[in-house]
Symmetry: C2
Subunit: 153 residues, 2 copies
Amino acid sequence: MQLTRAADYAVRVMIHLSTLPPGTRLSREDLAAVSEVPVHFLGKILQMLARERLIDSHRGVTGGFSIRCDPERTTMLQVLEVVEGPLFLNSCVNPAQKCKRADWCAAHRLWAEAQHQVAVVLSSATLAQLARESMERKSENGPCALADIKPWN
Amino acid sequence: MQLTRAADYAVRVMIHLSTLPPGTRLSREDLAAVSEVPVHFLGKILQMLARERLIDSHRGVTGGFSIRCDPERTTMLQVLEVVEGPLFLNSCVNPAQKCKRADWCAAHRLWAEAQHQVAVVLSSATLAQLARESMERKSENGPCALADIKPWN
């Protein structure tokens, strides 16, 4: 029961974009560097985020990726679900699977409860809150080389 | 972020064995039937459970599998961890990975919190409690054909 790398990387990218002024564009390479994500893997993740309108993709010399969703209203759970699909900690709690043990299986109840708790935690903070928290902690932890990367505006 | 089928099946098997009188032996085929687990997949799961001393494996004509651990003291989390290894919702919360973003990354804090909640829920009930709850609910939901399977004692 572990998050996919793709979802982890998507969250990193979205939080980083949320630290920047609205409209700021970053290249795939710069996003890969600041989020510490392998460049070759990032392309597909950015496509998913753009398809679901969490980010915009701009072509051309001054192109790149910018945030499209409102980071004050978008949660970590929403980013996760763009990449992994709806959160189901176990397939038995996916109503589409119609688990025939659901009526009596006590494990089913516990999986559902665990899933509810995960959803509550991952919905408890917006990207904007996480971006602010990360920036505050970064500044407490001293200067950071990644801040030297210049975004295009 | 989804439980492996192996861990789901292990939990089903362990709860079912916990519904039976101590020492009761069930064949792999009967365990597969009552737990609704593919027989070909169950062998490896039973090996893992036996290796970690949650069950005993008995050879011979009256052989089979019986519970070895104390179901009053064994939780769903312990069964899960026998199959999947220690619970880490994201690799960044695994101390062995030494995530260098942990000091400032706000997502890290949220993954850790979500993981803590999952651990709390999955540790909140023992196999014995889950077995009793399942049996009570089964009886409320009417007679069950699976009860016809005869264990060896």
